[in-house]
């Protein structure tokens, strides 16, 4: 196997390590802890009173808008990363190109700002 694939295999090993640690902890705990289930215990906590209504509630639209903005800007950073790595090679040409790119993005952010999408109401 090539060195490249091997270093990524280490990643899989570490993910396995995390699963192992959590399992070991929970396994050890299950040997030590008591288990006396009563119906009262398994009710959701809602400040001491019995919970009202259904828990699977609808969520507010504002989370969706922010998530959408995040996706836009995250895709942008994907484009900036290779440019940032090779800036020395591109020189002034790369600089001007990226200045235009970032300007358009900043314009987008400003538009969202003026449209009052950045307000958390």
């Amino acid at each position: 196997m090539s060195d490249f694939l091997r270093s990524w295999l280490v990643l899989v090993v570490f993910a396995g390590l995390a699963v192992l640690l959590v399992s070991a902890f929970l396994g050890l705990g299950s040997l030590l802890r008591p288990s006396r289930d009563t119906p009262q215990k398994t009710i959701n906590y809602e400040s001491g009173v019995d919970p009202q209504g259904d828990m699977w509630a609808q969520s507010n639209i504002r989370y969706y808008v922010f998530a959408l903005m995040f996706v836009l800007f995250d895709v942008e950073t994907v484009f900036i990363f290779p440019w940032a790595t090779r800036l020395e090679v591109y020189g002034v040409f790369g600089l001007v190109e990226m200045a235009i790119f970032i300007f358009i993005l900043a314009l987008g952010l400003f538009y969202a700002w003026r449209k009052r999408l950045l307000r958390w109401v």
């Binding site: 270093s7 390590l17 809602e46 828990m55 020395e88 020189g91 307000r119």
Partner: protein, 342 residues
């Protein structure tokens, strides 16, 4: 230079796995004891734990022993599989994050050319775990907390990534090992006496990075997802005993690793000025030097944590979108211009 003894790949990986386990748990324990137990107590004019071990140094083990004996309660209406899987996802994110941090010229877990990109990518996996925890608990507080956490983490993910971009521009590489080397051999506007720890040329980036890390860790003043006076403990409300402890370990291990990341990117990582960076000595000294810098950065993070009161939810979002993101975009442009001009 490599080790005097040549090891097979699986032996190396075995050693890395053991060291990785230590690298996650040891800084986490150190931070909890040093800052959460002791520094916070001293700042509040009390002694903190004193009974278990000298100056309460074994308090943490006692806590783990306590949590091991707690009953494991899963709410009746919860989605059991997702509820149980959430701590795994959070811990996987933490363990993958520690991978990219080098502790010496040859002491690394993984040496890939996209190192810092990998770190930023896996750091956002924990959002999924937190959202899973919030949604699966089927509690209103948990759902609110989970959504708040998701909104906060994605908002501060951007300044975090954009602040790192300045370092990438200066170093000209995504490989974390090469970024450390660039700081060790670099010079500040022609003066190379102490190399170029990027904190000097990227101070704005460092400041943005720290603020974003603070928010990513959902620590005060950015702890609305677990604000106890508003929504009990947010997405952790229904978690008891060990599962709660696992989230707690995840949080403090991530605090340690983000501090290590900040130390590596901005403070020169395992390098100290005065010794040649290719010297074999760094394979031994490197981890200790890195840990020293981690404690330094973590001190800053926890200092903020214990000093500032909680923000409001809208203030939090405005800080990210209206201050930090424009600032970090400007930082990229200015760094780029300076890089091309000089």
């Amino acid at each position: 230079m490599t080790f005097a003894v040549e090891l097979a790949w699986w032996q190396q990986t075995g050693i890395r796995a053991v060291v990785g386990l230590l690298a996650v748990l040891l800084p986490a324990g150190t931070l909890v004891y040093l800052f959460l137990f002791k520094m916070m107590s001293f700042m509040q004019s009390r002694l903190g734990p004193m009974e278990a071990g000298p100056y309460g140094s074994l308090q943490l083990l006692a806590e783990v022993g306590k949590f091991l004996q707690k009953e494991d309660i899963i709410p009746r209406k919860a989605d059991r599989i997702v509820f149980k899987a959430a701590p795994f996802v959070v811990l996987i994110s933490t363990f993958l994050l520690v991978l990219v941090i080098p502790a010496g010229p040859d002491a690394w877990f993984i040496d890939v050319d996209t190192g810092i990109f990998l770190a930023l990518a896996v750091s956002s996996i924990s959002v999924i775990g937190i959202l899973m925890a919030g949604w699966a608990s089927s509690s209103k507080y948990s759902l609110m907390g989970g959504l708040r956490a998701a909104g906060q983490l994605v908002a501060y993910e951007l300044p975090l990534v954009l602040a790192v971009m300045g370092v990438v521009i200066q170093a000209g590489t995504l490989n974390v090992q090469d970024i450390v080397m660039a700081q060790a051999t670099g010079e500040i506007f022609g003066w190379g006496g102490i190399g170029n720890p990027f904190i000097f040329t990227q101070f704005l980036g460092f400041a943005i990075f720290l603020v974003a890390v603070q928010a990513e860790l959902t620590q005060p003043p950015f702890d609305m997802p677990v604000a106890e006076s508003e929504i009990v403990t947010g997405y952790l409300t229904e978690y008891t005993g060990l599962r709660f402890l696992l989230f707690f370990i995840g949080e403090f291990a991530t605090a340690g690793i983000f501090s290590a990341l900040a130390a590596t990117l901005f403070l020169g990582g395992w390098y100290v000025p005065g010794i040649d960076p290719t010297n074999d000595l760094f394979n031994v000294l490197g981890p200790a030097i890195l840990l020293g810098k981690v404690v330094l950065v973590a001190f800053l993070i926890f200092w903020f944590r214990f000093t500032y009161p909680r923000f409001r939810e809208d203030q939090l979002q405005q800080l990210a979108w209206k201050v930090l993101i424009p600032l970090s975009l400007a930082n990229i442009v200015v760094t780029g211009i300076l890089k091309v001009v000089f």
